[in-house]
Symmetry: C3
Subunit: 268 residues, 3 copies
């Protein structure tokens, strides 16, 4: 399965990449799932605004005192190791436990693992709780599978294809889907694999677009029972929004604004 | 008292809703009050940028080690239970105590109370310190008064009118004003009540606009001695800015940008 | 040395203030330095987005458990006392120690020191570790040198020129450069002094532009060995971007967006 960029004459609504995932987008917009996000402090606003633009609803409590309780209200959970505050460090394990107990879908985003001494073992431990979807860049997937040193910060020094084996190995362990973000994105589970050659070079020029993809993936898992299709829908959604935004942007600042507008507009 | 949407031919500067509150807006712009905000991490930037756009000045320290001391510099205090970090949990009670001791106006925004086990009793306890204004959505006011279960996350599942009795009950306890945000906003104190049927459906599509309203209310209480009029001014200010932004926006991302521009422009 | 505003007919690329610092901007864009930032929570997003727009790469872990380890990956470190969470309070000293040990350039931004009881002594203690550049407003520099009470919040109640002696005193202690931001900016070290009369009145109307200047300064120190020239380059970069943004903006919201676009565009 492969999504290629259409010719310039194709209307956005007729984009061939959109058709297979359009029902997932429509379900998010109709059901407005409540997504509990424990995410990097730096990306909280774009994650929340991106979820709202997509039609979902964010919730962001992260302390051990409150996060496990309020996650019982959520339709899905998104765990991003981002800046990993002490509050998040303490709150994440217990919150995941509640989501697993209640059978809620959840997404793990092992941001910036590698040499970081707390998040790296934490991410590997969370894989044992079998996240519905794992989303990361290639370096993070390689580090998660134990076959690479990780990237520098939130960057990836590897391509998504280079992490295909590591991603497949993680998917075998979780029984769910894995999405590897990059210039070409890779989404896979035990049986299927899709390459998505869409998006914009401006996406990594805005902080938190990867974190947003993780949360958007959680929103899609809340409304669609197939983790692979949910992860693919989120990836295509953000990529198409990125293309629409890039067509209007005059730089990374305006791209960020248009991206949020486009998340709302894609496929309508 | 009731503010209705004017016809499309009315110039913004002549908006009839603006006249009664224009002196409060002018005073904020002239006095540039320093507003100490302990607010949700996710909304810090829009709160700070919104205050700056309105002509006020934000300050955001929240630890117990520093917040009570630096709040002595502030002209007003805004307490929002938002993401409620451990730092904020620890810092809020002592900071409120200093504001009360010094006779500074302060606003309580009981964000997302209901089932959350720390913030819900904390909000009720803070009401005993008699906030100048309580600002929340209907579900939060119902939960604060003990007559409703709260919403899901920062959403309200009730209309402002449905919370009128709860809001009046809270106002009797505090002796101040209460503002209930919704499609129609309600502002009241022991003697007066105003319905504000203005604003934009895009306001709840941007994270932190409610938090911003709480902080803007604090800015207004810093320059105007009547809590009811200050709360009403802030509500009208944000609603009119929201309408002006909606007229220019092509989605929630551009709406957020235009909202900040409009907070600066309304009534000038 | 002094940079004056050129006439309106001058093309941005021919701006005379740009020529001396253009090689530094080019080096940031080419080398994409990884800048580890421990910064105010409220300004994290604009700092990260600003670094990305400028061509650098941000990293934002701040706990004592992880920050000292991951800073070994960074090309420069930016320490901003901003909201100073407990995590940052704990993480900053050990992280600075690693940067000093490894000979990495680092920037100290003593935000809002004055009466704040933790950050004020911490800032003075960090000066002893000889930051490559200290960047602050006039009130902060006066408080750092022990000759002024500090400002109110992140504001300065003094002009940069009024802090010239204090800045020179700090520079003598660190052996590095000091940048004092204001309507006119001052950059100096033990031997040189530059006044930069550029920028826009809208810069202080957006939260975190000062924090961004500190981080941008760190990015410049990562690619240029002379702290004075690196600090001057960052100051001119932000000021020229501010002028370009102001020419397009219709208020502080749109200014923020155009500022990020302009950081990407200046001098290209």
């Amino acid at each position: 399965m492969s999504a290629q960029r259409p010719g310039p004459s194709t209307a956005p609504s007729a984009d061939p990449a959109l058709a297979p995932v359009a029902p997932v987008l429509a379900a998010v917009r109709e059901q407005a799932p409540l997504v509990h996000c424990l995410t990097a402090t730096v990306s909280m606003a774009i994650v929340a605004d991106g979820l709202l633009a997509a039609g979902a609803r964010p919730m962001m409590t992260e302390t051990a005192a409150e996060a496990p309780v309020v996650t019982t209200l959520a339709d899905a959970l998104s765990i991003n190791l981002g800046t990993l505050s002490t509050d998040a460090m303490d709150g994440i394990p217990a919150t995941v436990e509640v989501a697993v107990r209640d059978g809620r879908p959840w997404v793990l985003d092992p941001t910036a693992i590698g040499i970081a001494p707390v998040r790296t073992p934490l991410a590997r431990q969370l894989v044992e709780s079998r996240p519905t979807v794992v989303r990361g860049n290639a370096s993070e997937l390689l580090a998660l599978a134990g076959t690479g040193p990780g990237g520098r910060g939130a960057d990836s020094t590897d391509t998504a294809d280079a992490a295909a084996d590591a991603a497949a190995q993680v998917a075998r362990r979780t029984g769910g889907a894995v999405a590897v973000s990059g210039a070409v994105d890779l989404v896979l589970d035990a049986r299927r694999q899709a390459r998505v050659d869409r998006g914009s070079e401006l996406l990594p020029r805005v902080t938190g677009t990867g974190c947003l993809l993780g949360a958007l993936t959680a929103a899609c898992t809340a409304v669609h029972p197939d983790p692979f299709e949910a992860a693919l829908a989120a990836t295509v959604w953000l990529d198409l929004a990125g293309e629409a935004a890039a067509a209007r942007a005059t730089g990374p600042g305006s791209f960020r604004m248009h991206l949020l507008d486009a998340l709302d507009a894609v496929g309508r």
